[in-house]
């Protein structure tokens, strides 16, 4: 459904070092550097997938989203989405997609949210029955009923973001691009948004591509991860694969009755220690967890044991390290 082949995009960026002298110099001669935002990006996405698109700041995530949503024209490469080339057939193509840019707003600042929705209904020519049905669904699942009549400028960031997501879904898009949709949301709203994305993916078969820095979003939603760094695609695979690649590590947290000094266990490294609690990192391929606990209980009186897998954040950091970005 989504096919990218060898997409390249570079930007010309004006540069100067700080200071008055440099600023004056830049009046006469500007220095430009070419920044390669995307370099030979290729991937396929099938209908109904939820794909997490990750990478450090400035890696090219948003640029890719903008190319895919028809906003930017790449320098070279092929992009076929739903049979369209986004930047060539822009107006007929965008009817089928919904886009949320977490840092921007598509709602009219001075008028109530519902007026912006009404405008979108007319722009997308949504039949009134479909509009009403979608509005009811979105109002319920994103808890919008109290805020629809409020002018956008008086909404909090989280409230606004929920409205933004609703606004992008009024026209039943087949593909949803989310560029940092959970930026600035509180825990409750984050969960509501994630839940909702899952629901529309399951029930309506909406394909979702999301970029985020919140690895919990990825963990909760994405079956598949695309990782980009310095404009190049570095990893394309499932979260499970990623885990098994780095995933023989476990974090063992031990609570015990007060013990004066740290206890060393062979084959582990102690991450933190207090007289009542210690955290160890273990590679279970080398040392089974059971033997660690056995060794520990010989020396201290255990109260509680917790075993966790490596947080996704650390897996991602490992990936970044591997690719030196």
């Amino acid at each position: 459904m989504i096919e990218l082949q060898g997409i390249n995009k570079s930007f010309k960026v004006a540069r100067r070092t700080a200071g008055f002298g440099q600023a004056v110099k830049a009046l006469f001669a500007r220095e430009h550097t070419i920044v390669e935002a995307l370099h030979n990006i290729s991937f396929d996405i099938s209908p109904g997938e939820i794909v997490g698109y990750i990478g450090p700041n400035g890696a090219g995530k948003s640029t890719t989203i903008k190319v895919m949503s028809g906003i930017l024209v790449p320098d070279s490469g092929i992009c076929q989405i739903l049979g369209y080339t986004p930047w060539q057939d822009r107006t007929s193509y965008v009817r089928n997609i919904g886009v949320v840019f977490g840092q921007r707003t598509q709602l009219w600042w001075d008028v109530p949210v519902i007026d912006s929705f009404g405008l979108l209904r007319d722009i997308y020519k949504i039949p009134s029955a479909v509009y009403r049905e979608n509005l009811t669904l979105l109002t319920e699942s994103l808890a919008l009923s109290d805020i629809l009549q409020t002018p956008v400028r008086q909404l909090s960031l989280g409230q606004r973001m929920r409205c933004e997501i609703a606004a992008s879904l009024l026209h039943n898009p087949q593909i949803l691009f989310l560029d940092e949709p959970t930026i600035g949301l509180d825990a409750n709203s984050k969960i509501a948004v994630r839940q909702f994305i899952k629901t529309i993916n399951k029930e309506r078969g909406v394909t979702v591509i999301l970029t985020t820095h919140d690895m919990n979003d990825i963990e909760a939603l994405a079956d598949r991860i695309l990782m980009i760094g310095k404009g190049t695609l570095l990893y394309d695979g499932t979260l499970v694969d990623l885990r098994s690649r780095f995933g023989s590590k476990r974090i063992v947290t031990i609570d015990y009755h007060e013990h004066a000094e740290p206890v060393d266990v062979e084959g582990t490294s102690c991450l933190s220690w207090t007289p009542e609690r210690a955290v160890y990192s273990v590679d279970i391929d080398d040392v089974p967890v059971a033997s660690i606990i056995a060794k520990l209980s010989e020396q201290i009186e255990l109260v509680d044991i917790g075993i966790g897998t490596t947080p996704v954040e650390e897996l991602i950091l490992e990936l970044y390290k591997e690719h030196q970005i």
């Binding site: 903008k66 906003i71 912006s116 997308y124």
Partner: protein, 267 residues
């Protein structure tokens, strides 16, 4: 509803919210209208040459300028569109299934309409009841008035098409200040907003006739006072339509070029 009509409606409604701005605008426009007329009264009293425009016509000309200021002023701008371009929010406009040119055109038109409608009636009323020679006089005939309305609205359409170039230029300049200033100052002068065109020297008049600006203000105002005959007005309408077509085609072409190399600012 048609999407362009819908954005026109929404912009119109939100424009009607700015009541304080409308009140301040009315006061300013009344003040300027009176000052301008006073200056001309003084000129006329001491002039030996035969003026090409009677004082009565001149007062009407000045009042029409003030009443329909929002229709004719090029500095009258929509900061939202500038912000859209410079902050990168244009990303959202670009993922809508409609043409950006028509969309913005509708927005700009609605903004001018709402602003003018909020202000025009009170000034109109006051200007009518001022003592001569400061008052706004009635058009000579009913048909003249109809022609005036037609030419005024076409003038508005031409004006919005001109102002569109200011917005398009921001794609390259990234700041609206320069282009607004240049186009507004030149346009204001050449549309007769500073010195009424009939009072300009003939060579300058010929220049203004060759450019689109005077068709937005000077032409409808002189149709109103009957200085331009009805047949001439009909020809003028044709010229307005031609200018409108040229400006829109050119504007669309420029915008297409701007969008092809658009850089969405701010990541």
């Amino acid at each position: 509803m048609n999407p362009y009509l819908s954005v026109l409606k929404l912009r119109f409604i939100s424009g009607l919210q700015y009541r304080a701005a409308a009140l301040a605008g009315m006061a300013t426009q009344l003040f300027f209208g009176l000052i301008f007329i006073m200056v001309y009264v003084a000129f006329y009293a001491n002039s030996t040459a035969e003026p090409s425009m009677s004082l009565e016509q001149l007062a009407t000309y000045v009042w029409l300028q003030q009443i329909f200021l929002a229709f004719v002023m090029l500095w009258f701008r929509d900061n939202e569109i500038f912000q859209l371009i410079t902050s990168g929010n244009i990303a959202y406009e670009l993922c809508r299934p409609c043409g950006i040119y028509s969309f913005w055109y509708a927005k700009l038109l609605a903004q001018r309409l709402s602003s003018a409608i909020l202000r025009c009636f009170p000034i109109l009323l006051i200007a009518f009841f001022l003592p001569a020679p400061y008052n706004l006089s009635l058009p000579p005939e009913g048909t003249t008035f109809v022609l005036f309305l037609l030419t005024l609205l076409l003038g508005l359409a031409v004006n919005v098409a001109i102002s569109m170039f200011i917005y398009i230029s921001v794609f390259w300049t990234m700041s609206p200040v320069g282009s607004t200033l240049i186009i507004a100052v030149i346009g204001e002068f050449l549309s007769g907003m500073i010195i009424p065109i009939p009072l300009m020297p003939e060579w300058l008049q010929n220049i203004t006739y060759a450019l689109p600006f005077r068709w937005t203000a000077d032409f409808p105002f002189r149709v109103y006072s009957g200085q331009i005959s009805q047949t001439e007005a009909l020809w003028g309408i044709l010229i307005q339509l031609i200018w409108l077509a040229i400006l829109i085609v050119l504007g669309r072409w420029c915008l297409r070029r701007a969008l092809r190399q658009v850089v969405v600012q701010g990541g």
